[in-house]
Structure formats: structure tokens, C-alpha cells
């Protein structure tokens, strides 16, 4: 455990920028909207900014990415596949705890199971993560309901907590510790850990008054979703409100569905692209012969919430798929973000 003066905290990012492409929360000036991006200069990183409007998953799983390209030489009858993905080493600086949990879900999906996704692995193994404890929640947050905040518990290299004049910097890995030592950061004592606990407790207690947009008491709903005891009409009610835009998936820190598209280029080679996809689309589950196990929209909605909230899916992620960031509620044209869905299901439970 170390300490760094608040006025000097960006020096950590400066130091990281010598080895990594540093990404951090930056407020875009024209729209006043927070993005998790490479800043034009490190000084643009704003650790007090609201959680970024889009989750940082694009740093390890871009919205669109070439995973390889291939060409066929007719004369020589030779096909060549070149997998030239070489993501640069990245440091994610000032990641919120919910978003780290999202990255961990992605880890479990792409590299934590039977198959390893080489492209994701390449992104991920070069990632240095510095998290930032939320000293107060934002309006749409509900990470306390999904056990994913307000402070990160594991999976970071460094975790920072604003204690007022200085940040407590906890090392979560050897390279994190090495960096702190190399920077000559002051050692912190147990009193600082208590101060952090007070900050985190304070943050949790303020959910009641600040995080008023969403509440998602999800444990009971998890039980229901896992056991399937939810009336068809509830899913239908939810499905009728789905505009099938895919937004909830795109803004979800833990959603990993993707599509593969081969695009022919003018030089007669072909790019194989991977792009974000969503289970809310009918075409996502359509199979050859036009069979579709999830044709009606409510079945697709049902699937999404199964993915986020069921116990069987949580076993894969080692945590609930929902990380409580509240972004899906922001972007949903149908007003069926996860917190609302949880409310509808709870309403059904309590109305019996």
C-alpha cells in the first residue's frame, strides 16, 4: 500500500505512458460526455468524471476489428492467411470497479473456458489496470446490488482510492507494486486502510440519496430466472417494449457476443472482421434452414437476462453477468434496461 498526492496522481499515468498506450476517462468538450479513450495529453484524464458513457471493453474487444486477412493467388494456386493482429500494450487508468468486473467477465468468456480466443488474449495479456474507487455513486449506479463496487477487490495492478488530499494506492500484482516502488511512492499504513474503508462505506451509504435512477435488488430475481418460474406474460410484456436496437449489449461491460464478417477489398484480398453483435437480434440465433430457437423477441430478451442474472451463467463468470453500471437503462429506447426488468419480475413475485 502506497500513497500519492492528489496533485501528482497523473504522474502515475505519465509513467505508464512510457510503456503503454494509456487510456482513461476524458470529458469530450463539445458534448460534455465522458469517454474512456486515449487522451490527447495525459492532463486531459479526469479521475472525477462520471463513469464513462461507453464501457472500456472496447480497449480489449473493439467495436470492429480485423482479426486476419487472406488472399488467394490464382496463378500459383496458393491461399495465404495472415493473422497480423498486434494490439499495442495498454494501460487502463482510472477504471471504475464495475467496468473491471466487466473485463473479468470477458476474460472468463474469451480465455477462461475450454477455448482460448487468441486475439482477445493478445489484447489482454498486455493490459495494465489501474482502478479508481467511486467515493460517491452516480445517478444510475447499482453496483452494490451486483457485488461489483464501489471499490475493486481483485484483478487490478493498482487500485486508487481518493482519501481527500491523497490517493491510497493498493498494489494487486507484482508489476503494480514494482511501478509504485519505482515511482518512489510513500508507504501507507493501516490507518489509511481504515480511512479507505470509511470512504467506501460512505459511498455505499450515499447510494440511497444519489443513485436514485435505478435499484435492482437482484438476489430474489436471480433465483426466479434460474428456476424459470417467471410467467410468459412478463417476458412478453418486456419483449413488446424491445426496439431490437442492440444498444443494451453494446454498452454492457460484460457482453461478449460478436459477429464475423468477411469483407472483400479492392486489391482482391479479404479482411475477416469481428464486430459487436447482440442477442436481441433475430439474425443472431438464426440457423441454416431458417430454424431459430429464439425467434420471438421476448425469447431473445429472456435470453439476455438469463445471461446477466441466472445462477448457471454466473457459474461461468464466477459472478453475476450484470455489473451494476446502469448504462443499459440510459440507452434503451424501450425503457427496459436491466433494473426495470428486475422491477417487473419482482412485481410479479410480490403480486402473488
Amino acid at each position: 500500500m502506497f500513497l500519492i498526492k492528489k496533485s501528482e496522481v497523473l504522474k502515475l499515468a505519465e509513467e505508464l505512458s512510457k510503456t503503454y498506450a494509456v487510456y482513461g476517462p476524458v470529458v469530450e468538450k463539445e458534448s460534455n460526455q465522458t469517454f474512456f479513450v486515449r487522451p490527447d495529453s495525459i492532463g486531459d484524464i479526469d479521475l472525477d468524471a462520471p463513469i464513462p458513457s461507453q464501457p472500456p471493453k472496447h480497449t480489449v474487444f473493439p467495436q470492429i476489428e480485423r482479426i486476419f486477412h487472406y488472399s488467394y493467388d490464382k496463378g500459383a494456386k496458393r491461399a495465404e492467411i495472415i493473422a497480423d493482429f498486434k494490439p499495442e500494450p495498454k494501460a487502463l487508468f482510472g477504471l471504475r470497479s464495475c467496468d473491471l468486473n466487466g473485463v473479468q467477465c470477458l476474460d472468463r468468456f474469451f480465455i477462461g473456458q475450454e477455448f482460448t480466443d487468441d486475439v482477445y488474449l493478445e489484447h489482454r495479456k498486455k493490459t495494465f489496470i489501474v482502478t479508481n474507487t467511486c467515493v460517491k455513486p452516480f445517478k444510475q449506479c447499482f453496483c452494490v446490488c451486483t457485488d461489483s463496487g464501489p471499490s475493486a477487490r481483485e484483478g487490478y495492478d493498482l487500485n486508487m482510492t481518493d482519501l481527500g488530499d491523497e490517493y491510497l494506492v493498493e498494489a494487486g500484482s507484482d508489476r503494480g507494486k514494482a511501478l509504485a516502488e519505482k515511482m518512489g511512492l510513500k508507504k501507507a499504513g493501516s490507518g489509511h486502510l481504515e480511512a479507505k474503508k470509511a470512504v467506501v462505506d460512505g459511498s455505499i451509504s450515499r447510494f440511497e440519496s444519489i443513485a436514485t435512477d435505478n435499484k435492482a435488488w437482484i438476489s430474489r430475481v436471480m433465483n426466479r430466472i434460474t428456476t424459470g418460474f417467471i410467467k410468459g406474460e412478463i417476458w412478453e410484456y418486456i419483449g413488446n417494449q424491445c426496439f431490437e436496437c442492440g444498444a443494451c449489449t453494446f454498452v454492457c461491460p460484460s457482453c461478449s457476443c460478436f459477429n464475423i464478417e468477411d469483407v472483400n477489398r479492392k486489391d482482391s484480398s479479404t479482411d475477416r472482421l469481428r464486430s459487436w453483435d447482440s442477442c436481441s437480434f433475430e439474425g443472431y440465433t438464426r440457423m441454416a434452414g431458417d430454424h431459430n430457437p429464439r425467434k420471438p423477441v421476448e425469447d431473445r430478451r429472456n435470453k439476455r437476462f438469463f445471461c446477466k442474472l441466472s445462477y448457471s451463467q454466473s457459474k461461468k463468470y464466477l459472478r453475476p453477468g450484470c455489473v451494476g453500471c446502469g448504462r443499459c437503462q440510459w440507452v434503451c429506447p424501450g425503457d427496459i434496461g436491466l433494473p426495470n426488468v428486475v422491477t417487473y419480475i419482482r412485481r410479479e413475485i410480490t403480486s402473488r
Binding site: S31, F35, D44, F243, A247, N259, F281, V331, P333, G334
Partner: protein, 671 residues
């Protein structure tokens, strides 16, 4: 910072988005939270804008057809050839025509209009896919002087009562559909009137599933009921409007029996609409106003109903046509019509026409021109040369007429089957590659700034048009789109307060924006009108197609939920292409939607072929069993190129005449 705020360029809603620009390419898109209309939402199309903008099927060099084959050429050569050839026609009023694009920016549209009129002396200029919105604008302009949406998309939540007429807004303009849905959740009463059980119908408090082709009768019936029950806003009518008595009298011919038998609705349903509309403090009506919008008479009834209910001219109220293409509204604002100058002023307005010829230093014909499609259809039009801007493949339907033309020019960004018919092809930059303003359906003028560089040497359209004008010896001296907007503002009262330095932040400016209203105008106010509000003239004719013993089904013809503008743009994306093509994969040659009961009666299942027979012809098509249509009504999507059949072309006039509410009495036979 690689995220840059901008305006989504698909439909007429005008949502804000933010594009991820890396290494000169658009690699992602995100919703813009601070946008006053979209408030951080996008639809399935908007979420895949980057896929379109990455499309590599771009035209990369000017081409000139020599001996039947295209050869690459320089801009100078291509532009000179266009200027020279178009300058040679002796009777430009009949020999030259320009087909403008509702996707062009205001600046590009304005310069094309100026090029046609002041340089090549023809008023034959029209927008592709125009008809529906023009009908709406005609009615609103004659009545209020404002040729645009009377309300504002920002104010949807302020409407206590919302009437949605016809097409499924949740598919065509999803974010407007979303705003209506949110308003319903917040307590507004939403009523959808349409023959199909669409998503917006499901999300409404009430869905009045009337018989196809009877919207006009329904609207007239509501107006009649309003007056009979003395619920019309007499004070408002007396103080601010004229023409009430004439309209009230015209409703007399409508009997209660007719109303029920034509619409299939109970009188009580109609009375409830009238009562709710009258008692709500604020109310809005939405109807789509694009390629297959409503006919002018039906729009007139919508408008009159809201005028007599006193539901225009106030905040939270309005008659709101919804455009399907990003700059369809702006296209009309820029005078892209044979009879219009900018700001919807008729060419017959001598003083307006003079202000243009004075400013341009060049005159143009006094007589209105003709629309391009009309000229192509008329074998004796004398048309010889045609300039087409930007992608729209519907013109390919006129291929035979176009092949006969002497000289055809295509200006556009993407490779397009139409370009094959051209003698000269000139590539233009895509919309993110230069500055331009776009006017969305609620008169919101928004600046889309340059975000990436065009391919080497590729010019934006405004430069191309300027180049052609200068080769034809006109002296145009624009150095940027901002200069063009300055000229538009000078010549267009409703745009007079708009300039590029006014655009800061997001959300744009809603016209009219002038000295009196420097911040723009969110909604039409009674005192905005120069004179009293006029009720629209109506035909008073309620004849509708009726089923008969021989043809007992009513076939609706219209937009399909799964398509959007013939998929011209969607097929360049990945995900929307997959989603939008799903229906095509299932029904490669189109389909007819019928109810489950009818399918049982006919003893057919989904995707089985049937014959559809009308008075004019027949076609074989697959069945799509659907809960969206009622028994004895059927639905066929039309104007989707891949699905169009000769059958519908045989009914073309019938369809164009009836607009969105087009119906054909048919019978269906099992094959």
C-alpha cells in the same frame, strides 16, 4: 480525443451520435447523451453507422463513358464535359432535368438548385422519393405558413394525448417511437390508428385497427363527432382561424352507418377519440411522410381535426409529419422542387424570384418546371439530359427511359447500379468527410462537421457543383460550406438567423430562425402566422375501395417493418444487413401477409404459395402468416426492389394516387 460528436444521417429524426475516428477511418459509433431529441439513444441502424462509413465500395475516380466503356478521367475533364454538354441544349426547360437527393446537405442541395436554375436555366429539379412529404408540407404551409412540423420532437412528453396514424414509427423512426413510448409511460394517452398490429400499436393505450383504406373516413368521423358534441375549440376557431364552416359542412355527407361500415370501428371508439382529444390540454399527431406518405386529402383531415380541436399553435401541441430520410425536410427548404425556391416560396412569387436572380446575377425561367419521374414517364417530354445526385436505386426502375437519354451524369459516393447508365460519373465525398447542415423532421438544422479525410482527390459535392458552374462561366466564389450557408441565410427568411458560427454544442437550431426569433422556433405559435390560420380545403369525398363477392380481401400495400428505403444503405452494413435481409431469405420473392384464420380457411401454411388475383392482374407469392393483420385483409410490402412484382407495377397509379393508404380488392387462391 478520437470521439467526435455528429448527427446520424439515416432517417429524419436527426439523432446525435459520436463517431470513433482512428487513423482516418470511422471505427465505431456511440450515442450522444446530451442531444435534445435522442438523449443518448440510437436505433439498430444508428448503432451501425460505422459499418456503412467503412464500406469500401466507393467510387474513387471520375469516369467518362467512351464507346460504351468507362474510362477513368480527371475531375477537370469530367466537370468540363458536363458543363459543355449541358450548355449545348437549346431548350433547357424541356431538355435538362436534375434529380436531387434527400440525403444531400442543405448546402449541396442549394447549390444544385442554383446550378440547375441560374446556370442551366431549367426548373426541372426534384427530389427523389418525394411525394408524401410534399403533401404534408402543402397542407401545413397553406394553413399556417409554416412548411414543416408544427410541434417539436423535444416536446413529445408535454403532449397529454398522442395520436399515431399509420406506419410503425418504432421501425421507421425508432427514436421518435421511443419518445412516444416514454411519454405513454409517463402518463400521456397514446392512440394508434392503423390496420396492422405494429409494435407502436402494441405500445399504445389504444389501437384502433380499422379496415384498410379508411383513415380519412376515420379522421372525418372524429371531426364530425367533435363538432356534434360541441367539443371543438370554438374560441380558438373564432379568434384565430378561418374556413371552419366550410369544413364543418363538408362532413355532413358522412353518415354514421358509413362510418361504421367503412372503418369497421364502433361509433363509441370514435367518440372517445374526439372526447379525449378535446379534453386533453395538449395533443400531438404523428404520421409518416416519406416515400409512401399519406395523400394530401387525408393530411388535410388530420390537420383540420387538430385545428378545430385547438391543438396547434401551443407548446406540447402540433401536427407532426415524420420524414424518413435525413434531409428530406431540408431538401424542400432548399427549393429542390420544380415550383419552389428556398423556404418553400413558390417560383411564382415575383419578388422572391427577383431576389434570387439579383443575388445570383443570373435569371431563370418564370414557369415552374417538371419533376424528373414525371418527365421520364412522359414519352413526349423532350428530356435529353439528366443529372442525378447520390445513391438511390429506385431510379433504376426508369432504366428504359434513361437509356434513351442523350446525356446522363451521376454524382455520388458509393458504387451504384445507376452509375452504369451514366455517361459521366463523378465521385463525391461522404457526409463525414466535409461540413454540411441537415434539417431533421422537426425543422432542426444541425451541423455535421468533417471528421475524416476523403480518399485522395475526391471532392465534396458543393465543390463539384461550383466547379461545373465555373466551367460554364458563372462566377461562384465559395470557399467553404459556411459561405454557402451565408448565402442561403441571406435569401431565405426562415434560415436568416442561421450561420456556421451559431452552431456550438449539440442539438442545432430549429427554423424559423430570424431577427425576431434568434434562438430558433421550437413549435408553431398562433402569432407566428402572418394571417389567420386557414383550415385546409378538403374533397368531402369518402369513396373507398370496398371488397366485393369476387374480390373479398382488401390488400394493403406499404412499407415492411423489415425494410428501410429499399435497403440501399443497409446492405452496406453487416448487422442491419443480416437483420433486414432475414425476411428476404425466408421469402425471396416477396410475401403476402394474412391472418392465421385466413391461412386455415385457405388451407395454406407459412411460405406456401398462393395466387393473388385482382381486377387488373394476378401474381404468385408466398404466404406469411402473421398476427399483424386481421382476417380478410392482407398486406404486401412494395417498392422494395427485390420484392416488387409486375403485379404491383400494374397497379402503380392506383398506389401512387392513394399514398400510404393504398388498397386493392383481391381474392387469394391456393396454388
Amino acid at each position: 480525443m478520437n470521439y467526435k460528436a455528429g448527427v446520424c444521417n439515416f432517417c429524419g429524426t436527426g439523432c446525435g451520435h459520436i463517431l470513433n475516428v482512428e487513423g482516418g477511418a470511422v471505427n465505431g459509433v456511440f450515442a450522444l447523451q446530451g442531444h435534445p431529441v435522442s438523449k443518448g439513444r440510437l436505433c439498430v441502424r444508428g448503432w451501425h453507422m460505422h459499418e456503412l462509413l467503412r464500406d469500401s465500395q466507393r467510387i474513387d475516380s471520375p469516369m467518362i463513358k467512351k464507346n460504351g466503356r468507362f474510362e477513368k478521367a480527371g475531375y477537370d475533364e469530367a466537370i468540363s464535359l458536363v458543363a459543355k454538354k449541358l450548355g449545348e441544349y437549346k431548350n433547357p426547360s424541356s431538355e435538362i432535368a436534375f434529380l436531387a437527393s434527400p440525403r444531400s446537405s442543405n448546402e449541396d442541395g442549394y447549390l444544385l438548385m442554383k446550378l440547375a436554375r441560374s446556370v442551366f436555366k431549367t426548373n426541372n429539379i426534384s427530389l427523389d422519393s418525394e411525394s408524401g412529404h410534399r403533401n404534408s408540407l402543402n397542407v401545413l404551409h397553406r394553413g399556417t405558413g409554416m412548411a414543416g412540423m408544427l410541434g417539436s420532437l423535444e416536446d413529445i412528453k408535454k403532449a397529454e394525448y398522442i395520436l399515431v396514424i399509420g406506419t410503425d414509427l418504432t421501425r421507421q423512426n425508432p427514436i421518435i417511437g421511443s419518445e412516444i413510448h416514454m411519454a405513454a409511460r409517463a402518463g400521456s394517452k397514446v392512440v394508434t390508428v392503423g390496420s396492422k398490429l405494429t409494435q407502436i400499436a402494441k405500445l399504445s393505450d389504444v389501437h384502433l385497427q380499422l379496415k384498410p383504406g379508411s383513415k380519412k373516413v376515420f379522421l372525418a368521423a372524429v371531426a364530425k363527432s367533435l363538432i356534434e358534441e360541441n367539443l371543438h375549440d370554438a374560441e380558438f376557431i373564432q379568434k384565430h382561424t378561418e374556413g371552419f364552416d366550410g369544413f364543418a359542412n363538408s362532413l355532413g355527407s358522412l353518415s354514421h352507418n358509413d362510418i361504421s361500415s367503412i372503418t369497421g370501428l364502433g361509433l363509441e371508439d370514435i367518440k372517445t377519440v374526439a372526447r379525449d382529444l378535446a379534453t386533453a390540454k395538449t395533443a400531438m399527431v404523428f404520421f409518416t411522410s416519406g416515400i409512401s406518405g399519406l395523400d394530401e386529402d387525408t393530411v388535410s383531415y388530420i390537420y383540420n381535426l387538430f385545428v378545430i380541436a385547438g391543438k396547434i399553435g401551443k407548446e406540447g401541441c402540433g401536427v407532426n409529419p415524420v420524414t424518413g430520410i435525413c434531409n428530406l425536410q431540408g431538401g424542400y427548404d432548399m427549393g429542390l422542387a420544380p415550383d419552389l425556391l428556398t423556404g418553400f416560396r413558390p417560383i411564382s412569387d415575383k419578388s422572391a424570384a427577383k431576389s434570387f436572380s439579383d443575388a445570383w446575377g443570373a435569371g431563370f425561367p418564370d414557369e415552374p418546371g417538371r419533376g424528373v419521374y414525371e418527365m421520364l414517364a412522359d414519352k413526349s417530354s423532350g428530356l435529353k439530359a439528366l443529372v442525378v445526385v447520390d445513391h438511390d436505386e429506385s431510379i433504376v426502375r426508369q432504366a428504359e427511359a434513361i437509356k434513351k437519354l442523350d446525356f446522363v451524369v451521376y454524382v455520388g459516393s458509393f458504387e451504384n447500379p445507376f452509375a452504369e447508365y451514366a455517361d459521366v460519373v463523378i465521385p463525391s465525398a461522404a457526409y463525414v468527410e466535409y461540413d454540411g447542415t441537415y434539417t431533421s423532421t422537426d425543422r432542426r438544422v444541425q451541423l455535421s462537421r468533417k471528421k475524416t479525410e476523403p480518399a485522395e482527390g475526391v471532392m465534396p459535392a458543393w465543390r463539384i457543383f461550383t466547379g461545373i458552374a465555373e466551367k460554364a462561366s458563372a462566377r461562384w466564389s465559395y470557399s467553404s460550406p459556411a459561405d454557402v450557408m451565408a448565402e442561403i441565410a441571406k435569401l431565405t427568411p426562415s434560415y436568416s438567423g442561421i450561420s456556421y458560427d451559431r452552431f456550438s454544442g449539440v442539438g442545432g437550431i430549429q427554423w424559423p430562425c430570424d431577427g425576431r426569433r434568434p434562438e430558433g422556433t421550437r413549435y408553431f405559435r398562433v402569432d407566428d402566422a402572418a394571417s389567420k390560420i386557414k383550415l385546409a380545403g378538403v374533397t368531402g369525398s369518402f369513396k373507398t375501395m370496398r371488397p366485393s363477392g369476387e374480390y373479398p380481401w382488401l390488400l394493403m400495400v406499404g412499407k415492411a417493418n423489415h425494410f428501410w428505403h429499399q435497403n440501399n444503405l443497409m446492405k452496406r452494413t453487416f448487422i442491419p444487413k443480416r437483420e433486414y435481409n432475414a425476411t428476404l431469405l425466408l421469402y425471396p420473392k416477396g410475401y403476402v401477409e394474412i391472418s392465421g384464420d385466413d391461412a386455415k380457411k385457405l388451407q395454406v401454411r407459412d411460405r406456401w404459395p398462393v395466387n393473388i388475383v385482382s381486377q387488373y392482374g394476378s401474381m404468385k407469392v408466398a404466404v406469411r402468416v402473421s398476427d399483424e393483420v386481421r382476417s380478410e385483409t392482407a398486406f404486401v410490402p412494395y417498392f422494395i426492389q427485390d420484392m416488387i412484382t409486375e403485379f404491383l407495377l400494374a397497379h402503380n397509379e392506383l398506389i401512387i394516387e392513394q399514398g400510404e393508404d393504398a388498397i386493392i380488392p383481391i381474392r387469394i387462391e391456393k396454388v
